[in-house]
Protein backbone atom coordinates (compact mmCIF):
# COMPACT_ATOMS: atom_id res chain seq x y z
CA UNK A 1 0.00 0.00 0.00
CA UNK A 2 2.83 2.37 0.88
CA UNK A 3 4.32 1.79 -2.52
CA UNK A 4 1.04 2.55 -4.23
CA UNK A 5 0.57 5.72 -2.23
CA UNK A 6 4.11 6.84 -2.91
CA UNK A 7 3.80 6.34 -6.62
CA UNK A 8 0.40 8.00 -6.70
CA UNK A 9 1.68 11.02 -4.82
CA UNK A 10 4.54 11.24 -7.28
CA UNK A 11 2.07 11.08 -10.11
CA UNK A 12 -0.13 13.77 -8.65
CA UNK A 13 2.70 16.11 -7.75
CA UNK A 14 4.76 15.36 -10.79
CA UNK A 15 7.85 14.70 -8.72
CA UNK A 16 10.27 11.86 -9.06
CA UNK A 17 9.03 10.55 -12.43
CA UNK A 18 11.66 9.99 -15.01
CA UNK A 19 10.86 9.92 -18.72
CA UNK A 20 10.43 6.39 -19.88
CA UNK A 21 9.66 5.08 -16.44
CA UNK A 22 7.22 2.28 -15.87
CA UNK A 23 4.48 4.77 -14.96
CA UNK A 24 3.34 5.83 -18.37
CA UNK A 25 0.19 6.01 -20.44
CA UNK A 26 0.08 4.49 -23.88
CA UNK A 27 -2.76 4.85 -26.39
CA UNK A 28 -3.35 1.14 -26.20
CA UNK A 29 -3.67 1.28 -22.42
CA UNK A 30 -6.01 4.25 -22.54
CA UNK A 31 -8.42 2.16 -24.58
CA UNK A 32 -8.66 -0.13 -21.57
CA UNK A 33 -10.39 2.60 -19.58
CA UNK A 34 -14.11 1.92 -19.69
CA UNK A 35 -14.67 4.75 -17.23
CA UNK A 36 -12.94 7.33 -19.39
CA UNK A 37 -15.05 10.43 -19.70
CA UNK A 38 -16.74 10.05 -16.36
CA UNK A 39 -16.53 12.88 -13.90
CA UNK A 40 -15.46 12.52 -10.27
CA UNK A 41 -19.12 12.74 -9.28
CA UNK A 42 -19.94 9.91 -11.68
CA UNK A 43 -17.20 7.76 -10.20
CA UNK A 44 -18.47 8.44 -6.68
CA UNK A 45 -21.93 7.45 -7.84
CA UNK A 46 -20.55 4.14 -9.08
CA UNK A 47 -18.71 3.61 -5.80
CA UNK A 48 -21.86 4.42 -3.88
CA UNK A 49 -23.79 1.65 -5.60
CA UNK A 50 -21.34 -0.77 -4.01
CA UNK A 51 -21.35 1.17 -0.75
CA UNK A 52 -25.13 0.93 -0.45
CA UNK A 53 -24.90 -2.87 -0.47
CA UNK A 54 -22.50 -3.15 2.44
CA UNK A 55 -24.99 -2.83 5.24
CA UNK A 56 -27.47 -5.52 4.33
CA UNK A 57 -30.87 -5.28 2.66
CA UNK A 58 -32.27 -1.82 2.05
CA UNK A 59 -35.83 -1.49 3.41
CA UNK A 60 -38.57 -1.31 0.76
CA UNK A 61 -39.09 2.22 -0.48
CA UNK A 62 -35.72 3.38 0.79
CA UNK A 63 -32.80 4.62 -1.25
CA UNK A 64 -29.37 4.51 0.28
CA UNK A 65 -25.97 5.89 -0.57
CA UNK A 66 -22.73 5.27 1.24
CA UNK A 67 -19.57 6.63 -0.23
CA UNK A 68 -16.17 8.13 0.38
CA UNK A 69 -16.32 11.85 -0.39
CA UNK A 70 -12.67 12.63 0.23
CA UNK A 71 -9.86 11.13 2.27
CA UNK A 72 -11.33 12.35 5.54
CA UNK A 73 -15.06 12.17 4.85
CA UNK A 74 -17.57 9.36 4.45
CA UNK A 75 -21.26 9.98 3.80
CA UNK A 76 -24.32 7.87 4.52
CA UNK A 77 -27.47 9.21 2.86
CA UNK A 78 -30.86 7.57 3.11
CA UNK A 79 -34.15 8.71 1.58
CA UNK A 80 -37.66 7.31 1.94
CA UNK A 81 -41.32 8.28 1.74
CA UNK A 82 -43.20 8.75 4.96
CA UNK A 83 -46.09 6.28 5.03
CA UNK A 84 -48.56 8.68 6.62
CA UNK A 85 -47.80 11.99 4.98
CA UNK A 86 -46.27 10.73 1.74
CA UNK A 87 -43.58 13.30 2.27
CA UNK A 88 -40.05 12.51 1.17
CA UNK A 89 -37.80 12.11 4.19
CA UNK A 90 -34.04 11.93 4.26
CA UNK A 91 -31.22 11.54 6.69
CA UNK A 92 -27.56 12.26 6.17
CA UNK A 93 -24.77 11.08 8.40
CA UNK A 94 -21.27 12.28 7.92
CA UNK A 95 -18.25 10.45 9.29
CA UNK A 96 -15.26 12.69 9.67
CA UNK A 97 -11.82 11.16 10.13
CA UNK A 98 -10.00 13.17 12.75
CA UNK A 99 -6.60 12.52 14.30
CA UNK A 100 -8.13 11.40 17.59
CA UNK A 101 -11.02 9.33 16.26
CA UNK A 102 -13.89 9.14 13.81
CA UNK A 103 -16.53 11.76 14.46
CA UNK A 104 -20.09 10.87 13.51
CA UNK A 105 -22.13 13.95 12.64
CA UNK A 106 -25.89 13.91 12.20
CA UNK A 107 -28.58 16.49 11.72
CA UNK A 108 -29.63 18.49 14.72
CA UNK A 109 -26.08 19.07 15.90
CA UNK A 110 -25.74 15.47 17.06
CA UNK A 111 -22.20 14.24 17.07
CA UNK A 112 -20.11 11.65 18.80
CA UNK A 113 -16.91 9.74 18.28
CA UNK A 114 -17.46 6.21 17.11
CA UNK A 115 -16.56 3.61 19.69
CA UNK A 116 -17.23 0.00 20.64
CA UNK A 117 -19.13 -2.15 18.17
CA UNK A 118 -20.18 0.78 16.01
CA UNK A 119 -16.54 1.64 15.36
CA UNK A 120 -15.77 -2.00 14.53
CA UNK A 121 -18.71 -2.12 12.10
CA UNK A 122 -17.65 1.09 10.42
CA UNK A 123 -14.10 -0.14 9.95
CA UNK A 124 -15.27 -3.41 8.42
CA UNK A 125 -17.59 -1.49 6.10
CA UNK A 126 -14.92 0.86 4.77
CA UNK A 127 -12.44 -1.98 4.39
CA UNK A 128 -15.01 -3.87 2.30
CA UNK A 129 -15.77 -0.68 0.39
CA UNK A 130 -12.09 -0.27 -0.45
CA UNK A 131 -11.67 -3.91 -1.51
CA UNK A 132 -14.76 -3.98 -3.70
CA UNK A 133 -14.48 -0.49 -5.21
CA UNK A 134 -10.82 -1.02 -6.09
CA UNK A 135 -11.61 -4.31 -7.79
CA UNK A 136 -15.02 -3.67 -9.30
CA UNK A 137 -14.88 0.01 -10.24
CA UNK A 138 -11.21 0.70 -10.83
CA UNK A 139 -10.19 -2.84 -11.80
CA UNK A 140 -7.14 -2.78 -9.60
CA UNK A 141 -5.71 -5.20 -7.11
CA UNK A 142 -6.46 -3.74 -3.66
CA UNK A 143 -3.18 -5.06 -2.26
CA UNK A 144 -0.79 -3.90 -4.98
CA UNK A 145 -2.68 -1.20 -6.90
CA UNK A 146 -1.84 -2.94 -10.16
CA UNK A 147 -4.42 -3.06 -12.93
CA UNK A 148 -6.26 -6.36 -13.02
CA UNK A 149 -5.91 -8.31 -16.21
Amino acid sequence: MTSVLKKAVQLLTGSGIEPGSSLSVSKKELKKRPLKGLSERDLIRLESEIGSELFGPIPAGHERSFFNLDERTWIWYEQWKDKDSGKTMSATTRYEIQDNGILKIQEGARYNFLDGQELANFMVAIQMYYERVTREVYKRDPATGKKLA
Binding site: M1, V4, L5, K7, A8, V9, L11, L12, S21, S22, S24, V25, E29, L30, R33, L35, K36, L38, S39, L43, I44, R45, E47, S48, S52, E63, S65, N68, L69, D70, E71, W74, I75, Y77, Q79, T92, R94, I97, Q98, D99, N100, G101, I102, E107, A109, N112, F113, L114, G116, L119, F122, M123, I126, Y130, V133, T134, Y138, G145, K146, K147
Partner: protein, 144 residues
Protein backbone atom coordinates in the same frame (compact mmCIF):
# COMPACT_ATOMS: atom_id res chain seq x y z
CA UNK B 1 -29.73 7.04 -8.20
CA UNK B 2 -31.04 10.56 -8.47
CA UNK B 3 -31.68 11.03 -4.81
CA UNK B 4 -28.17 11.30 -3.59
CA UNK B 5 -26.58 14.59 -2.89
CA UNK B 6 -23.08 15.55 -2.00
CA UNK B 7 -24.13 18.83 -0.55
CA UNK B 8 -27.17 18.68 1.74
CA UNK B 9 -29.12 21.93 1.92
CA UNK B 10 -28.25 22.36 5.56
CA UNK B 11 -24.88 22.89 7.15
CA UNK B 12 -23.25 20.66 9.67
CA UNK B 13 -22.19 22.62 12.68
CA UNK B 14 -18.86 21.62 14.07
CA UNK B 15 -18.88 21.04 17.81
CA UNK B 16 -17.03 23.53 19.93
CA UNK B 17 -14.57 21.29 21.71
CA UNK B 18 -13.00 24.14 23.66
CA UNK B 19 -16.37 24.89 25.20
CA UNK B 20 -16.75 21.25 26.18
CA UNK B 21 -19.74 20.59 23.93
CA UNK B 22 -18.83 16.97 23.37
CA UNK B 23 -18.44 14.46 26.15
CA UNK B 24 -15.29 12.53 25.56
CA UNK B 25 -13.63 15.26 23.54
CA UNK B 26 -9.87 15.05 23.99
CA UNK B 27 -9.54 18.24 26.00
CA UNK B 28 -12.42 17.49 28.36
CA UNK B 29 -12.38 13.74 28.96
CA UNK B 30 -15.63 12.32 30.20
CA UNK B 31 -13.95 10.59 33.11
CA UNK B 32 -12.85 13.92 34.54
CA UNK B 33 -16.48 15.04 34.56
CA UNK B 34 -17.51 11.82 36.25
CA UNK B 35 -14.82 12.13 38.87
CA UNK B 36 -15.75 15.75 39.46
CA UNK B 37 -19.41 14.78 39.91
CA UNK B 38 -18.41 12.11 42.38
CA UNK B 39 -16.36 14.56 44.38
CA UNK B 40 -19.28 16.99 44.41
CA UNK B 41 -21.49 14.21 45.76
CA UNK B 42 -18.93 13.56 48.46
CA UNK B 43 -18.81 17.21 49.35
CA UNK B 44 -22.58 17.28 49.70
CA UNK B 45 -22.45 14.13 51.75
CA UNK B 46 -19.93 15.57 54.15
CA UNK B 47 -21.95 18.74 54.47
CA UNK B 48 -25.04 16.66 55.17
CA UNK B 49 -23.21 14.69 57.82
CA UNK B 50 -22.05 17.90 59.43
CA UNK B 51 -25.62 19.13 59.52
CA UNK B 52 -26.81 15.84 60.90
CA UNK B 53 -24.34 16.12 63.74
CA UNK B 54 -25.60 19.54 64.69
CA UNK B 55 -22.99 21.49 62.81
CA UNK B 56 -20.03 19.79 64.47
CA UNK B 57 -17.01 19.47 62.23
CA UNK B 58 -16.35 15.84 61.47
CA UNK B 59 -13.15 14.24 62.61
CA UNK B 60 -10.76 12.82 60.01
CA UNK B 61 -11.82 9.32 60.96
CA UNK B 62 -15.47 10.08 60.45
CA UNK B 63 -14.87 11.85 57.15
CA UNK B 64 -12.75 9.06 55.76
CA UNK B 65 -15.57 6.58 56.21
CA UNK B 66 -17.47 8.17 53.36
CA UNK B 67 -14.63 7.25 50.96
CA UNK B 68 -15.26 3.58 51.42
CA UNK B 69 -17.29 1.72 48.78
CA UNK B 70 -21.01 1.85 49.17
CA UNK B 71 -22.41 -0.82 51.41
CA UNK B 72 -19.43 -0.59 53.71
CA UNK B 73 -19.09 2.30 56.08
CA UNK B 74 -21.79 4.60 54.78
CA UNK B 75 -23.64 5.64 57.87
CA UNK B 76 -27.33 5.59 57.00
CA UNK B 77 -28.37 5.46 60.65
CA UNK B 78 -27.78 9.18 61.18
CA UNK B 79 -29.72 9.93 58.06
CA UNK B 80 -32.70 8.10 59.43
CA UNK B 81 -32.55 9.96 62.72
CA UNK B 82 -32.49 13.44 61.29
CA UNK B 83 -34.32 13.12 57.97
CA UNK B 84 -34.30 16.07 55.60
CA UNK B 85 -33.39 16.38 51.97
CA UNK B 86 -29.67 16.87 52.35
CA UNK B 87 -29.29 13.92 54.68
CA UNK B 88 -31.30 11.64 52.45
CA UNK B 89 -28.92 12.56 49.69
CA UNK B 90 -26.09 11.46 51.90
CA UNK B 91 -27.63 8.09 52.51
CA UNK B 92 -27.87 7.56 48.76
CA UNK B 93 -24.41 8.80 47.96
CA UNK B 94 -22.21 6.36 46.13
CA UNK B 95 -18.82 6.57 47.72
CA UNK B 96 -15.67 6.99 45.66
CA UNK B 97 -13.83 3.77 44.90
CA UNK B 98 -10.29 4.39 43.67
CA UNK B 99 -9.79 0.89 42.26
CA UNK B 100 -12.97 1.09 40.26
CA UNK B 101 -12.02 4.56 39.07
CA UNK B 102 -8.52 3.46 38.01
CA UNK B 103 -9.89 0.44 36.16
CA UNK B 104 -12.38 2.62 34.30
CA UNK B 105 -9.60 5.03 33.41
CA UNK B 106 -7.41 2.24 32.02
CA UNK B 107 -10.29 0.91 29.95
CA UNK B 108 -11.01 4.37 28.65
CA UNK B 109 -7.37 4.90 27.68
CA UNK B 110 -7.33 1.63 25.76
CA UNK B 111 -10.50 2.63 23.93
CA UNK B 112 -9.02 6.02 23.04
CA UNK B 113 -5.88 4.39 21.66
CA UNK B 114 -8.06 2.06 19.60
CA UNK B 115 -10.03 5.01 18.25
CA UNK B 116 -6.83 6.79 17.21
CA UNK B 117 -5.45 3.67 15.52
CA UNK B 118 -8.69 3.03 13.66
CA UNK B 119 -8.80 6.66 12.53
CA UNK B 120 -5.30 6.22 11.05
CA UNK B 121 -6.44 3.10 9.20
CA UNK B 122 -9.55 4.88 7.93
CA UNK B 123 -7.41 7.75 6.66
CA UNK B 124 -5.13 5.39 4.74
CA UNK B 125 -8.14 3.70 3.13
CA UNK B 126 -9.64 7.08 2.24
CA UNK B 127 -6.36 8.21 0.70
CA UNK B 128 -6.03 5.01 -1.29
CA UNK B 129 -9.56 5.32 -2.70
CA UNK B 130 -8.96 8.96 -3.56
CA UNK B 131 -5.76 8.04 -5.39
CA UNK B 132 -7.42 5.24 -7.35
CA UNK B 133 -10.17 7.68 -8.33
CA UNK B 134 -7.69 10.36 -9.30
CA UNK B 135 -5.64 7.96 -11.36
CA UNK B 136 -8.75 6.89 -13.22
CA UNK B 137 -9.77 10.48 -13.86
CA UNK B 138 -6.36 11.51 -15.09
CA UNK B 139 -5.72 8.39 -17.10
CA UNK B 140 -2.72 7.07 -15.26
CA UNK B 141 -2.16 3.39 -15.43
CA UNK B 142 0.00 1.99 -12.72
CA UNK B 143 1.93 -0.64 -14.58
CA UNK B 144 4.89 -1.25 -12.31
Amino acid sequence: MSSYTLQPDYEFRRPDFDAGEVDGAPDIPGWIKEAKAQFEDLSMANQARTEALGGRVLSQAETSRSYEPIGRGVDTRRAEITGGEAVRRFSNTRAFDYNEFAAAERQRSAEQIRQIEEAKRALVLGEAIGIARKMELEGYLFTN
